[in-house]
Symmetry: C2
Subunit: 341 residues, 2 copies
DNA sequence: AAATACTATGCAAAGGTTTGCATAAAAATC
DNA sequence: GATTTTTATGCAAACCTTTGCATAGTATTT
């Protein structure tokens, strides 16, 4: 049988006083007798009184809970962002409700609806790759729930945003490959319709363009997901081209690792025959053979800053200041999978 | 300004009926006029009525939220367990509140207290490595909150448990090393006081014992955490022993990778000079050079089963059936980092 | 002694929803 | 036409906490 918890009224009855007095005694209200206060505090401790946050939330229309919507958490990126979010929000007294959209637009909609019902205070979101419209986010905003978008942009949505300059990261990587003497640079690109995919692709294209390299259709392949398996076939396709690329810039480290794997199986030297650069700088990446060159992003900072911005919206209250758009710069980290320049 | 949401009463007023009628109309209550129902449903949709789950929770003492307490989520293990949990609980209509203890006993206590206050329905927990007593868990149970412990056992705590046979996994790994001809097998063990550490260590010891191998104090080193960095120094210490081990069984894959890294830097052949076996079978593990031999665990299943057990406690209600203790068997996966037998 | 200020407490409402009981109206039965 | 049944709706309580206002008693001032 579910034991009902100790309530204010229970304590009040036991001491023959009113619930209001008990509430005030526990809240350091000035107008309260020291004796009474002492008795209340003592009994509350004895009975292990725990205030019912539901009742409080109902009363104050504030739940001290922030929702975080991410596509997945099994990768390094989002789990680290979440850790950053937690490290800001938790000390501030906020709960975090982490929800996984599983890269599904439908699930994302279901999540936002549930969040509205649970009276969440604010939302941090990185949209699913299949998300096309932002009605569900706008609905949250209309409900007065502040929204911060991180990492994956929602073009056209008016919200605070914390992003990473994916374009710049890609540009750096490709330009480095060019400077190191690569002549035929391919790109394992991400799933279509995703802002980060597009920005990285554009960075790749523009770096080629800047150096007057021709862009070959066959040199760009979109992978369908972010895991190793998703990278194998596209990498094979690339490395079996008649005009085999001498460099691959991959969407992320997992895909880059797949490409390295395929290349090695084909007997190719890395970086002798083909240079490889990834994106994300996962913890494992420096331990591969050869150690993977990659683009580092301030992942933890993305989480912290997003949380801080949301927090300020929650606390400053309602004055609707101008929207913020923060863009972090990534850094190229050269290891052994790409030629020295 | 925080717009207050549409409530039952708002709809009631607009239609000149009572809130009870509106509630019933939206709930397919039998005794309700079709006309009325149609009107209510139509208006509710138009105004985008969202029931307030706080009020409901307060009334029914049920929040349809389950708390999940894990030490961290940046690794592969817990993030995958969580995905399994979600895939069971989400379709059943439950929310998941993921909380990170950060391997800290104190934070874990704070989390459980907060969970009691938020009237959570049930809890899934894998305790922090620094957790020594289980008072906080017992307090939850006393409050009538069902608790399921997964992966990391809490010896002496009466709760449902979903574990992996770490002892058996370790035993398999070490026995394999013995059978493959290794004579001097070391163990990079986990943080002290953690059930999985102890079980794996015992498996190591017993496998040696079974084959009449001497146990050398110097061959067992405890690492302080689960990341690559935590493994480097202990691995160096091990491989610089006068009597250098010809095999290392590591606490997990990250540590094993560190050991491989150190060994390679020292110019040792793997597995020629030293065999290495890890634990966890992370997605990356087969992509290292050489591909890492390891122990696979049914991580996703651990999550799913834990969630299913909790779910049955939540639904069956209160009859307190006997506690379940499910133990999954891990599997040895031999790749290239250990000699063939 | 009367008026004022202060201290300590209680009452009641509010927050949104559900539900048992009561009630009213309509329909069905005799 | 009177009684019973059915159908549709409303009232009010309950869930727990906070807080403005009122009140009663005590202490201070004039």
């Amino acid at each position: 049988m579910k034991k009902s918890r100790v309530t204010l009224t229970d304590i009040a009855k036991a001491l023959n006083i009113s619930a209001s007095t008990v509430s005030r005694a526990l809240k350091d209200h000035p107008a309260i007798n020291k004796e009474t206060k002492r008795a209340v505090v003592k009994l509350a401790k004895k009975l292990k009184y725990q205030p019912n946050l539901l009742a409080l939330g109902l009363l104050q229309k504030k739940t001290y809970t922030v929702g975080v919507i991410v596509p997945e958490i099994t990768g390094h990126f989002f789990s680290t962002v979440i850790t950053g979010i937690r490290d800001v929000l938790s000390p501030a007294g906020y709960n975090i409700a982490i929800c996984l959209s599983n890269e599904s637009f439908q699930e994302e909609i279901a999540i936002t609806e549930k969040m509205a019902k649970t009276q969440i205070d604010g939302v941090l979101v990185s949209p699913a790759s299949s998300t096309k419209t932002y009605k569900h986010f706008k609905a949250l905003q209309k409900n007065g729930i502040p929204l911060v978008v991180f990492d994956r942009d929602c073009p056209g949505l008016d919200a605070d945003k914390v992003l990473v300059d994916d374009y710049d990261g890609a540009f750096q990587a490709v330009e480095y490959l060019i400077n190191s003497g690569c002549k035929n640079i391919a790109h394992l690109s991400g799933p279509m319709n995703l802002s980060i995919t597009e920005h990285r692709l554009q960075g790749y294209l523009d770096a080629l363009g800047k150096h007057k390299f021709p862009v070959k259709q066959e040199n760009v392949i979109h992978v369908s997901g972010f895991t190793h398996e998703d990278g194998i076939k596209p990498a094979q396709k690339l490395l079996k081209l008649k005009n085999r690329p001498d460099a691959i810039f991959a969407m992320n480290d997992c895909i880059a690792i797949s490409a390295m794997h395929v290349a090695k199986k084909m007997g190719l030297q890395i970086p002798g025959d083909v240079s490889i650069i990834g994106f994300d700088d996962e913890p494992h990446s420096s331990y591969f053979t050869p150690a993977l060159s990659t683009i580092w992003q301030p992942v933890y900072s993305v989480g912290m800053l997003s949380a801080r911005i949301l927090l300020s919206k929650l606390q400053e209250g309602e004055e609707e200041p101008e929207l913020r758009r923060e863009v972090f710069k990534p850094e190229l980290i050269i290891r052994a999978s790409s030629k020295a320049v």
